[in-house]
């Protein structure tokens, strides 16, 4: 009896998580606690960072098996692996987006395109890091790192799940962390690249946009993007479907579901699945440090690209365009537009740049999806 009891208790101890805890597990669990703190206490993109952090926590608990074959998150992860969740989230984004400022001032598309410079600079930067011993990025991995510069979580996750799924957790965490840091990263760059006169420019009021234009716009964008780069169909198509559900005015129930219940459900599944991929063996490497550095470079150069193109538009239009709205071309909607508004108001308190900045902001969402399509078409599996 006593030997049976001691064998049973001994077996339970040997099978316990505490007994099987390793140093890498403990480090990953600590990192997940830091991310939970950032999400809850500091408000760093909590809607995604919190599920990601908790997924990381659950996956690194020893003997839990939640991400092993047969585990709960193993099946939830199928939505990421098969590229289902990010387009569904994009549908919700489209349902919440207002393309009115973009339709009223289509030149904003150029600022959205220019801000994608960060993606390609980070792509080259990641390849350059191969010169450092211990860091080796393939072209696909470099492209996935570069897409962080699109400042678009679903785009980054979708592209990485196709090109470099082994880096998914690092790239997702870097992308969402830097998106939360946009109000800190962008203003110094915006101020360094613009003059006092440029920052104070007050732009003309935007023209009113009719409902017919708002309904035709998503169909037009999907058609053009799909005919040019077919790989954009999942992301741009779902983005525009969501927007059409809103703008048509005849699918209010579907619009509300896309914006709320569906988006929330998919966000939870996506976040927890992506977080669960953050295992010690893939996360605690020199590559993760490279991803963090290049992620920052991607955001910085995206801002540089947008602001510099904004300066070009400012000069060619005779000082009618405020270059500060160029920084909103990184597609962190609507945070980047708010940053343009805030910096503009520092120099001219009566200046309201928000609506003007929303044009490049939503154009950046389309631009980053097109850039992702190009990278997938060029470097993806054939």
């Amino acid at each position: 009896m006593i030997s049976f009891l001691s064998d049973t208790i001994g077996q339970l101890v040997v099978d316990s998580g505490l007994y099987n805890m390793t140093l890498p597990n403990a480090i990953m669990i600590s990192i997940s606690f830091v991310l939970i703190y950032l999400a809850v206490a500091k408000g760093f993109e909590p809607l995604l960072l919190l599920p990601i952090a908790f997924g990381m926590f659950l996956s690194n608990l020893p003997m839990g098996g939640i991400f092993d074959e047969g585990g709960l998150i193993y099946y939830l992860y199928m939505g990421v692996k098969m590229g289902i969740y990010p387009p569904l989230i994009f549908m919700g984004v489209g349902a919440m987006a207002d393309f009115g400022p973009l339709i009223a001032n289509p030149k904003s598309f150029l600022l959205g395109a220019a801000a994608q410079l960060g993606i390609f600079v980070a792509f080259l930067g990641a390849l350059a890091l191969n010169a450092i011993p211990g860091i080796t990025f393939t072209a696909q991995q470099a492209a996935s790192i570069g897409i962080i510069g699109g400042a678009d979580g679903p785009t980054a996750i979708y592209t990485t799940s196709i090109l470099a799924p082994e880096l998914l957790s690092s790239i997702a965490i870097a992308a969402y962390s830097y998106m939360a840091l946009v109000p800190i990263i962008q203003p110094p760059i915006m101020k360094a690249l613009t003059t006092d006169r440029e920052r104070k420019i007050v732009m003309e009021q935007l023209r009113p946009v009719s409902k017919t234009e708002r309904v035709i716009f998503p169909i037009l964008v999907t058609l053009i993007c799909a005919l040019m780069v077919p790989a954009t169909v999942p992301l741009v198509g779902m983005l525009m479907l969501g927007n059409l559900l809103k703008e048509s005015g005849v699918t209010e129930r579907l619009n509300k579901t896309a914006q709320n219940e569906l988006m929330n459900i998919v966000t939870i599944f996506l976040g927890i699945s992506v977080g669960a991929t953050a295992r010690a063996e893939t996360f605690l490497t020199g590559q993760t440090l490279g991803i963090v550095l290049m992620g920052l470079a991607a955001f910085a150069f995206g801002t540089v690209g947008g602001v510099l193109f904004g300066k070009v538009m400012c000069r060619t239009s005779g000082y009618k365009v405020n270059p500060l709205i160029g920084s909103a071309g990184v597609s962190a909607v609507p945070m980047a537009a708010r940053v343009s508004q805030k910096v503009g108001q520092e120099y001219n308190p009566t200046n309201f740049l928000l609506m003007h900045a929303l044009g490049p902001n939503v154009a950046g969402v389309i631009g980053s999806a097109v850039a992702a399509g190009v990278l997938i078409a060029t470097l993806g599996p054939k």
Partner: protein, 125 residues
Amino acid sequence: MNISWIEAFGIMISGLLIVFVGLIILIVMVVLMGKFFKTAKKTPKQSDPPKAATPATSAKSAPARPMQVQNGVEEETVAVISAAVACMMQASAPHSAYAITGIKRGKEPRPVWGFAGMQQNTRPF
């Protein structure tokens, strides 16, 4: 898959080029769409300009009536309502002449919960 620096720069340049070209095509299409709907909106009114001019002229020639403001409505409220009407008219009928003749409080609205209940029960399926 590892690539050479030439291939990497090629991807960068072609990627940026495709993004710009695609979005420039979208700019052209959106501008054309805007011009088309502006023209389509103006066409039915081409037969009306003489009539449209008359009310505006008569409005200008008629002596302006003072705006009737209900007791208890503050000056700031009148200013805000006037600004809101001006924005709305600018958006929906930018070339029309109008005048605000009076501002008064509306009837007491239905209680919010009652309104929500009515909406819930009468919303088409």
